[in-house]
């Protein structure tokens, strides 16, 4: 679905490259999480997935990003707005309409989608984020978690095949975080959507992802299933990444020869002891 080949990028305002040769393949329907210290290039990488870099934000760009067979260098950003939905940290920066319904209708209206289909898309998107009862609400009155769910619903009405989310829950309280992650889980499991999530807490990553990508200093330093990546405790610690407590505990037990494998969830850890 996405193929990134030897990608380099430098912003005009900076002296060093932010991306220093990134290679990554993401399969259709895969849930990929990206993690790494601030400034490692993960947000920049997200912006290359819908052509914003290099089309809107220019700089020194080399290499290829191919999304669903289309090289981002060769198409306009608008071509990708139907394929790739992008959700940022602060939902407020993405909401502007007076009602939830208008917010959700905005994208497809601009694509001249027929009225009945817009209606269907809105109902479908609201049911996925579990907010059918907020259709006529003013977005400003919603909680942080609800706002972020509306931002997700708004990008779903464009019927994207890929959803890219850059730390979508970092500003939310625990209830809001849970709400958003459960929407992502549903989109992945039931709608088979391809999801790219930048996130710095490892607990949700362990639970949700098929693949974890660890970035540092503009490059990918580790990638693989959560189990493979979270076993590399010393390397991750060096980068300031703490694996989930349950993985750390089972890592220590594995090193001590008490269990055979590390666990990603409490339930998995329980099974190690049966």
């Amino acid at each position: 679905m996405i193929e990134i080949r030897d990608l380099h990028f430098k912003y005009h305002s900076q002296t060093d490259e932010v991306l220093k040769g990134v290679n990554l393949k993401i399969k259709k329907g895969e849930f990929v999480s990206i993690i790494g210290p601030s400034g490692c290039g993960k947000s920049t990488l997200c912006l290359t997935l819908n052509g914003i870099i290099p089309k809107t934000i220019s700089g020194q760009f080399s290499g290829d990003v191919i999304v669903d067979g289309m090289n981002t260098k060769e198409y306009e950003v608008s071509e990708f707005s139907k394929k790739v939905g992008m959700i940022l940290q602060n939902p407020e920066s993405q909401l502007f309409a007076m009602t939830v319904e208008e917010e959700l209708a905005f994208g497809p209206e601009n694509l001249a989608v027929p009225r009945e289909e817009i209606e269907d898309r809105i109902s479908w998107a609201l049911s996925i984020v579990n907010m059918e009862n907020k259709r006529d609400e003013f977005p400003g009155n919603l909680s942080g978690g609800q706002k972020q769910r509306i931002a997700i619903a708004a990008s779903l009405t464009m019927m994207p095949e890929i959803l890219v989310l850059d730390e979508p829950t970092s500003q939310l309280d625990p209830i809001g975080k849970r709400e958003v992650f459960s929407v992502l889980q549903q989109l992945h499991k039931e709608e088979k959507m391809t999801i790219v999530l930048v996130e710095h807490r490892t607990e949700p990553i362990a639970e949700l992802s098929d693949k974890v990508v660890v970035m540092d200093n503009g490059a990918i330093v580790l990638q693989g299933s959560p189990r493979v990546v979270f076993e590399k405790v010393p390397i991750l610690r060096e980068l300031g990444i703490m694996v989930p407590d349950i993985s750390y505990l089972t890592y220590l037990l594995k090193e001590g020869g008490y269990v055979k494998d590390i666990a990603l969830t409490v339930e998995e850890a329980r099974r190690l002891f049966i």
């Binding site: 210290p37 601030s38 400034g39 940290q89 909680s143 942080g144 730390e167 970092s170 500003q171 309280d173 625990p174 209830i175 849970r178 710095h200 607990e203 980068l239 300031g240 990444i241 703490m242 989930p244 407590d245 349950i246 750390y248 505990l249 220590l252 037990l253 001590g256 008490y258 409490v266 850890a269 329980r270 002891f273």
Partner: protein, 267 residues
Amino acid sequence: MKAIEIDDIHFAYPESDEILNGVSLDVKKGEFVSLVGQNGSGKTTLAKHFNGLLRPNKGKVIILGEDSKNFSIAELSRKVGHLFQNPENQIFEETVFSEVAFGPKNLGLSEVEIKERVDRVLKITRLSKYRDTHPLSLSGGEKQRLALASVSVMEPQILVLDEPTTGLDLLSIQGILDIVKELHNRNVTVFLITHDMGLVSELSERVVVMERGQIIGDGTPREIFANDELLTRASLEPPQIMKFSKMLGLNPEVKVDALYKRIVEAL
């Protein structure tokens, strides 16, 4: 002497429902207390009473043995440092040095004393190399360290941290925590508001749980996180280690090392 004594305080903004309805709390000098609870439970409103930003409609707030109603915000802010969630709201000077020097200047300290205090705090917060840099060119984690430097340069005896790690990456969070631990070691009373149950278990000796303007739980992290009924009421998720130690039928633990030891003993 107690650092903070709150006696049955009530608070409501004009013409709205009560946000605090009958909160009583004692904090000993040198204690490290975490305050947890959902958004809207009254945590920030409570903490704003410690330095006089808010005054109770009813009840008493006693800070370091003296009734806070006898002091202005300026006087209280020398005793109680308050670090807010968003560091940019607290930054206004042209250089890191003058940002940190702003408070001590207002205390009427001599040039030499000011310089000495600021340099000491910049060293603790690892910002010495940015002494002459513009504060807004710092990274998120550095700005939060700067805000913490500006608060701790006043040498407050009580430090209130309101979600100091929101939106920061792990290395930055670690940087903030190291400084907070160091201040706590110097006998500063720390009052931490957070949603991060991992931080709570790692750092605090005591956890206070709020829900709908009242305190519904008060104990060690082990006691609080073992109490499922309380956690459900406050919609809090127990830490993984607590869940797992209960599953194994072992003594409830919240820290990885402690549970590791118990498991190895049991095997």
